[in-house]
């Protein structure tokens, strides 16, 4: 029982980061029908920004806001440079474009920075733990879960209470009709990339704090987790994305601690197997979204 509880708490911490990543993927998918395989590039770029900042002797207190700003700017820049040029193209073209962005960013860092791993110091408290009864809880997980809850509340306020949020929801439901009502398509899409970049930035802060390093392909893993979690949750559903992220985190932690040692290395594979099973029984993921037909 204690072990299960321990796993659930660990899973919640891991899943929170996935939820933030998946939410960013879902926001973009909702508005543009783009499954963004470049979603991890914000973390790659901010990873190098963090590395550069530490070279200057800056502390995490300055690096955290730096990562958030760089992530948002990277997201907006990717839209401006790549996706803006294929507005209105079919979903497959958008998908390929996002792959292209991933490879371009990867190659730029590989060619002009370095292929080797760049290390920086992790904050001291990342590995600290405290005890609640017989449970050993990481300070890091506590911070992650707390920040995620606050972020989700703020995002939900943004979507429910502001005209931008309303426009975003209307555009996600029926893009053409939203435009007919005066919703500016460029503003909504730019706003979606900004929001998605901010969410990736928050997840990126935690990701980089824990990793303490960056490489040209640093964004690949977080991107995969985010896209997978969004798929599990039901593409286009924001609530589903959060649930998908939490479920993915829990599944990974549970499997890693429960699988016999001989196959524990195959955790990822077993997770994919479970996802395949989920899609056999619920092809739309946890929360199915009916999209209005586009004309």
């Amino acid at each position: 029982m204690t072990e299960l509880l321990q796993n659930l708490i660990d899973g919640l911490g891991r899943g929170s980061i996935y939820a933030l990543l998946a939410l960013g993927v879902a926001v973009i998918f909702g508005v543009m029908h783009l499954l963004n395989f470049a979603h991890g590039e914000m973390i790659t770029v901010s990873g190098y920004a963090a590395y550069w900042a530490f070279q200057q002797g800056w502390s995490w207190w300055i690096v955290v806001p730096l990562i958030l700003v760089v992530s948002v700017l990277t997201s907006l820049a990717i839209d401006q440079v790549a996706f803006r040029r294929v507005r209105g193209a079919d979903d497959f073209t958008l998908l390929l474009t996002s792959f292209g962005v991933h490879f371009v960013v990867f190659s730029l860092f590989l060619l002009y920075v370095s292929a080797s791993v760049k290390n920086f110091s992790r904050p001291g408290w990342v590995t600290d733990t405290y005890k609640v009864g017989s449970l050993r809880i990481e300070v890091f997980d506590t911070v992650v879960i707390g920040v995620t809850i606050i972020t989700l509340l703020l995002v939900s306020l943004l979507l429910q209470r502001t005209m931008f949020g309303l426009a975003l929801r209307a555009a996600a439901a029926d893009f053409d009709t939203a435009r007919l009502m005066g919703v500016r398509s460029d503003n909504v899409i730019r706003g979606a990339f900004g929001l998605s970049g901010l969410l990736a930035g928050i997840a990126g802060v935690f990701w980089l704090m824990r990793a303490g390093q960056t490489t040209p392909s640093a964004g690949l893993d977080p991107m995969l987790k985010g896209v997978l979690a969004a798929l599990i949750g039901g593409l286009g559903s924001l609530r589903g994305a959060v649930l998908g992220g939490l479920a993915l985190g829990m599944a990974e932690v549970l499997l890693r601690s429960r699988l016999p040692d001989s196959i524990a290395g195959l955790t990822e594979g077993v997770v994919f197997l479970l996802i395949a099973l989920l899609f056999i029984f619920r092809p739309g993921g946890f929360v199915s979204v009916a999209h209005a037909e586009r004309v």
Binding site: M163, R169, A170, A178, G182
Partner: protein, 233 residues
Amino acid sequence: MLEVAGITTKYGAISALRDTSLTVGSGEVVGLIGPNGAGKTTLLGSVAGLLKPTGGTVTFDGADVTGAAPEKLLRAGLALVPEHRRIFVDLTVEENLKIGGITASKSDRAELLEEMADLFPVLRDKWTTQAGFLSGGEAQQLAIGRALMSKPRLLMMDEPSLGLAPVLVDVVFELIESLRAAGRTLLVVEQNASRMLEVADRAYVLRSGEMVAEGTGAELLERTDLFDTFVGG
């Protein structure tokens, strides 16, 4: 106010609209009738910016707006109540109306919301209901209210009576009458040709992508040669 001059709009290689012209003067109620597939929705879509005409021009208040984006046309004062209403079913009635008033200032928007609640009492009762739960008639009123929220100078409606029970069709036509009495400029596509001709100042008849007749409502009602065009609505 609106002048459509010789526009052609294609879906791939097929012309849904060929060299079609139409005008709407300020304060006029103009009907656009014709059988299914005549190109009526294509015409409204081409004017509202959803479709790009391959030839011809659309002029609104003297400015060439051919192929302009829908959000730009709305700001110029041109609103469309789309076919099948296309309300946002996951949003509440109030949120749907707010989206319609996205171009207005916050205080103007609050005033307009109040105005719509007065104009459509059924909506006031369902203010915080998700629009997906509305009946067909309520949804149509919401769609029209949502378009009115932008204070359009020209309101275009695509088949507002489609799929409604007869008593609700009456409600829609009464609404058109009241908008006309309020001096609004309307361009209405209708399958219910005889009803439309009764309320319209002028009307156009579209068939297979071409204008085949135009005149006052009374004139067209007497054109027995067009009867086969009217039948079916």
